[in-house]
Amino acid sequence: MSGPAPRYSAWSLVRARLAGDGYWRPLWAGRTLQEAYDVVVVGAGGHGLATAFHLARDHGVKRVAVLEKRLVGYGNVGRNTTIVRSNYLLPENHYFYEDSLRRWETLSRDLNYNVMYSPRGVVDLALSDDDMSGNARRGNAMRLAGIDAELLDLAALERYCPELEPRRERRFPIVGALVQRRGGTVRHDAVAWGYARAASALGVDIIEDCEVTGVRTAAGAATGVDTTRGYVKAERIVFATAGHTGMIGAMLGTPLPIETHLLQALASEPIKPLLHTVLVYVFPGHGETYICQSDRGGLVMGGHLDGFPSYTREGRWDRLEEVVEGAIELLPQIAGVKILRQWAGTNDMTMDGSPIIDRLRYDNVFVNAGWCYGGFKTIPASGAACARLVATGTAPDLIRAFRLSRFATGHLLDERGGGPFPVRL
């Protein structure tokens, strides 16, 4: 069967039941690569697919292709810990991430695909008065921008998350928390599939197993890309290649302020409902664990970067131990739970920890990159803003601060205040 999937509704379920086999279609159409496009998007991850979707829906761009080296959703959109939030300190960041969070709230409707947005709250635990001051400062900055944030003392935290037993004696006692209740989780694979389906329905060609190997130029502008399936002419090119953006810089002869690091995650066997929120636990001595429970019951957790450039997608063992130690410190009752699987993704870490959405070397080449370890939560806002930049040639206000030249002009967005090193704490 070919052709795009029918519109999903309660009625479509009934019709599918009555029609029997053969009613459901592939989520996106298998199309062949054309000779020329208005826009070629490189990378069928969250950002690439969202950009293509918005180009077609909001700006009426007719001929759009998304070229993917492997499979739709093979990269970080399928490798993250599914957390969405907008609890950032700097205005340039929190307005942008808040735009994204608002889009998450309605995305299932916009895409006609259930992405399972679950506003279960994101809790940043504080282990000292100093942590609480930091949380208060960030929370206040968010509230001034109209974003929900709530500082919880021990009693309030106990009411919000009783399963944590915040008052229990711990090596590093918990003193309070900052919670963003609208933060939570989204089913990550559904995001890739939902955007791919919606973009395909609007006529976007999604071409898998098609690696871009070079960019051809003439008279100071890009004219197209060489791929493993031949040359494709393109009026405009967008690179949304996440952890391989450094390669794009090398391809175009433009070194980038990006280093590629691994970030690991792991999931346990499914257990009965235990944890109803997302806990973020940064403990003294370089450790971090964030943990939530998926709808299937598995505990999903992650921590710090591995700490050095790598494309292995394997992950270092001692980091895994550290993440698990933190999880057991938080929730001792999970100590006997088995880890089901562990994986890693490649992260394009910029030198200030904030993203880059801008032109790259040529007037008609764009890069949507540098998402560090926070790319998943920004997919809807990034796709909309990047599409507008590509379609109109002008960056919307929301992403003006994410220009590449900020590193040279000194307008860094260093949320962490850590200097030009992605991993130093």
Partner: protein
């Protein structure tokens, strides 16, 4: 990659070492040395410090796609001082 061989201390667990950054290209200016990074799928030349040992500075050549360590030598501190 679970260990590095420090030229002064011998083989030690990876957690004793701290990655600093990739070594800038020869002739790189101040901006490039601070902000830009040399990215390669095949060979990455990096500065690391053996912070949990001799504190020597190491130049490490690695293959970031396979994790193989190709070469390590001391470039400062450690056994030299």
């Amino acid at each position: 990659m679970t260990a590095l061989v420090c030229p002064f201390c011998g083989p030690r667990h990876l957690r004793e070492f701290e990655f600093h950054k990739t070594v800038p290209a020869p002739g790189a200016g101040a901006f490039a040395r601070v902000y830009e990074r040399v990215d390669s799928l095949d060979v990455s030349v990096e500065h690391w410090q053996h912070v949990g040992g001799c504190r020597g500075w190491l130049q490490v050549r690695r293959n970031p796609s396979s994790g193989a360590v190709l070469e390590i030598h001391l470039v400062g501190g450690g056994g030299g001082q």
